[in-house]
Amino acid sequence: MSDTSTVSQDSAAATHAAPGRIDFQTDPSRYRHWRVEHDGPVAQVFMDVDEKGGLFPGYELKLNSYDLGVDIELNDIVQRMRFEHPEVRAVVMRSGKERVFCAGANIRMLGGASHVHKVNFCKFTNETRNAYEAAAEESGQTWIAAVQGSCAGGGYELALACNHIVLTDDSTSSVSLPEIPLLAVLPGTGGLTRVTDKRRVRRDLADVFCTMEEGVKGRRARDWGLVDEVVPNSRFDEAVAERARAIADASSRAAPRKGIALTPLERQFNEDGSVGYSLVEVTLDRAARRATILLKGPEAAPPADMAALEAEGARFYLLRLARELDDAILHLRLNETELGLIVLRSQGDGAAVLAHEALLLQNAEHWLANEILHYWKRVMKRLDVTARSLVAVIEHGSCFAGPLAEILWAADRSYMMEDEFEGDNRPVAAIRLSPGNFGRYPMANGLTRLQTRFLGVPEAVEAAEEQLGTPLEAEAAREMGLITFAHDDIDWEDELRIFLEERASFSPDALTGMEANLRFAGPETMETRIFGRLTAWQNWIFQRPNAVGTEGSLQRYGTGRRGEFDMRRV
């Protein structure tokens, strides 16, 4: 018997109507699920999810459960906290609801979502968790979780990504990762990994913790290392405020008084699916299952100094480019799932790109320079974990220089024009390296893209570092190993066409698996373990009937009937 015949609500959820385009841009005036309060160096972020505010029909976001829409707002908060409120040193994440901190990702949403959506949802939530987790080290902005009420699954994962967790000792509030006993899936937003790698919970205790539905409360939660402090409920607000104040005071960095406004993006969506930004153009060839992202170089010289940079604010070239590229990647990931190839192009003045970056690098201590550099790093990481074949095409007139050159090594391979092309009077294609390529934009594995690329030949990195600023044309670039192929006028078009056609014909699953494996050579870090090991296992489970079959746990959740399992171990 099929479930859908008996469970009307679930069947509604199982066939989510295709929503309109998912938009990653928002601003505080449009938040439905969060509220931010500022008090000088301390900000409080209240999660107060609007039950009726789900991104798709068919489920209600009860008990502060979340879907992608909720996380898009959180991402916006994290981003604005760093750019618009650099004065903030401590951010308290707490619930705007009584008796529940957060119940995690909405199960009915997960039960009804396509596999593609689930995976992209998890990836994005992971990226957001990483972003606020890193804010302490990168920006001196420490996130603190103030937990009252139940904090389960994805709710505890929200807290885990904070760098300090305060739990009330009211004898009821607990932290838990009930995914396995309750849902037959994993705590996949970093939960399993952060418990062992970040909080260093002993693995056997972690085993106990991750298989108990009810979680752990009070002193035991602290003794096991699941939270940092347990405070009496009557003193909770006070203790959290004191902790936030202390963390804010301890922040060594002098906080700037004023941030810059992240103004709305200049952006236009066209009928044919193309998207135009001020510096980024996305064009689609659906038949070829291909999107092309064109990045443009700066139109003007960099601002003279830091004051001028702050005055330019969100209009500053590299920040604008980062925001637009970030949005374009997310748009393609969630809204254009059938385009398996992304071709990355650029046009503009490479020297000017370097000049813009140089201003930031020379003033790296300045808060805004620091933020922009870190943001570019995050955008590049976003690219690293994008499950599409990434091809960089280095044409004449391109500007893959410094920060933009990172794209070449984020891509799975690159093609470069060699020598003059007939009838093409653009400057001959050249790559430019900058000091930024040697440490400012590390990958999830902690290494630079060049270090990762040259894992077996570290001297190649040293050799590259000797060429800072030099325009490296195809031959040099190929010799140095900075590109994959260089082709002249005669071969260029065919080589590229054949490659793109062939690539588009392979199984998307096999490609995703292969690319994700080849991209992250070198050491494991917590981040690579989250995106690699945890995510891969979760995505496997998300495909298995035990979780998603009609008799599986996710489909059965809420019906009262348990999932039926194929008990064979695989």
């Binding site: 008996t6 009307s8 009810e214």
Partner: protein, 483 residues
């Protein structure tokens, strides 16, 4: 041989579960015992602890004649662990295991669920004692004081019953939960009780009667559902608790009834016909019927919230697991699995209240709440009979279940007691007519003067028709300790 009908007093803890030969659990309970006694002693004012109260104590679990009455000092009350007799070859009554032999041990796969249900039930038991702790200071009679204490000690025993299950079946976790049952406390900022209604105050005797009528009846429904559990020890525990619970609701129903009776009599004596002539009626030192209706509205709706969300995954899981059944599950004639059945639940669609069918499995809470509403309506009818007999024209009513709700589909929307959706302004204009105001509370409070003379009653409440244990009207139900 183990005597499972008569209560054994061979251990400090009276029981019919063979505690004397279950050293592990006996030890755990004895360790918990002092904390319990401290909780009790810290709670109830000292002079009442030393008073002699005419209480019933369970001596057997035989439905006929299970209790005996005698004077006891409350701290010496024989709280014990009592399970209803085992039913031979009992089967799991519902869910996917329906028809299999009932579990005598906790099934591993449902351990967390069972524990949670027991903890939630256990948490309510001591809570009401905490809520009612100061009421004896304003008791309208020794008869009422005795009833209060009877309810209190039995709620204390219900706590014991849940603690026994936690100790016996849930190991170290269970012991920890049992300790936490004493750590949480009603209305506490530090560690409040788990459910909303159990953190509200019970400031006066009318509240107490309403509470025992409406909120203890929620307890009854929960116990009825747990009595249908496939986990046999839980079922047997709850079945015995139900025999005690009946008295609590009796105290509530007769308490409200006697209050109504006295109000109507006083109105007739003074020649007041209009029940809404509030000032004149209050001047007689009785509680006007509209105010009683407001109290009813409050307690009924708070109690409805205790049933949780109308559509509930937890409730569905518990039923399907065979851990918690429906009211009178054994008398229902269906497949007891609800695989295809539907049940109508309230929903709020485009500004309108409708009932629509959902899978019955997910609507277990709604169904139990409907059973509750039917059950609660009975006493309201009997109160109206009292009013009718006195010739006063007034009718008590259960408000619509959408009114004043904090949980479920109606939560945070504004309805009047008829179930009509209101604007904020309409609601503000009506609320003082629908729920007790501070002034109403102050007035009731002004009547709460203790009456400690045997056979005497406060002026706002009529004496009962018959005494407890058939004692005469002037029986001294509590021999007060006078320091």
């Amino acid at each position: 041989m183990l005597d499972l009908i008569n209560v054994s007093y061979d251990t400090q803890i009276p029981n019919n579960v063979g505690l004397s030969s279950d050293k592990r659990v006996l030890k755990a309970l004895e360790k918990w015992h002092p904390g319990y006694i401290n909780w009790w002693n810290d709670l109830i004012p000292d002079n009442f602890q030393k008073s002699l109260v005419y209480l019933r104590t369970a001596v057997s679990v035989d439905p006929k004649g299970w209790a005996k009455f005698d004077y006891v000092k409350m701290p010496e009350y024989r709280w014990g662990v009592l399970l209803a007799p085992a039913v031979e070859d009992r089967r799991i009554p519902c869910g996917e295991h329906a028809g299999e032999p009932a579990w005598q041990e906790v099934p591993g796969e449902y351990r967390a669920m069972l524990r949670r249900l027991i903890v939630i039930q256990g948490d309510t038991e001591p809570a009401s004692v905490e809520q009612q702790r100061f009421l004896a200071l304003s008791a309208p009679s020794l008869y009422d004081m005795r009833n209060l204490f009877q309810v209190n000690v039995e709620e204390g025993r219900h706590l014991w019953a849940m603690v026994y299950l936690l100790h016996k079946y849930f190991g170290a976790d269970g012991r920890e939960e049992a300790d936490d049952l004493l750590r949480r406390s009603s209305g506490s900022e530090e560690a409040p009780r788990m459910l909303g209604a159990f953190n509200e105050e019970t400031p006066d005797w009318l509240s107490f009667f309403m509470f025992t009528y409406f909120t203890d009846r929620d307890g009854k429904m929960q116990l009825e559902a747990l009595a249908q559990s496939g986990f046999d020890p839980l079922s047997r525990t709850c079945r015995f608790m139900l025999t005690e619970e009946a008295h609590h609701m009796f105290v509530g129903e007769t308490g409200v009834g006697r209050t109504i009776q006295r109000t109507c009599e006083a109105m007739n004596e003074a020649g007041i016909e209009d029940p809404h002539d509030v000032d004149a009626i209050r001047a007689l030192g009785v509680i006007d019927l509209p105010t009683i209706q407001k109290k009813l509205n409050l307690h009924y709706t708070l109690s409805l919230d205790l049933f949780g969300q109308e559509v509930s995954t937890n409730a569905a899981n518990a039923f399907n697991a065979g851990i918690k059944g429906r009211y009178m599950e054994h008398r229902l004639e269906d497949d007891h699995k609800l695989t295809d059945a539907t049940y109508p639940v309230w929903d709020f669609v485009e500004g309108k209240l409708i009932r629509h069918e959902v899978p019955a499995l997910t609507a277990i809470n709604m169904r139990l709440r409907d059973d509750y509403t039917r059950d609660a309506a009975g006493g309201v009818g009997r109160w109206n009979k009292i009013i009718e007999k006195t010739g006063i024209r007034f009718e008590m009513k259960l408000p619509h279940e959408s009114f004043n709700r904090k949980i479920g589909v109606f939560a945070n929307k504004l309805f009047d007691p008829e179930g009509k959706l209101l604007t904020g302004a309409e609601y503000d204009a009506g609320i003082n007519h629908w729920l007790p105001t501070k002034a109403d509370g102050d007035f009731i409070q002004s009547l709460m003067k203790p009456v400690y003379e045997p056979g005497q009653f406060a002026g706002w409440i009529a004496p009962p028709k018959v005494g407890i244990d058939n004692k005469p009207g002037d029986f001294e139900y509590v021999k007060l300790y006078m320091a």
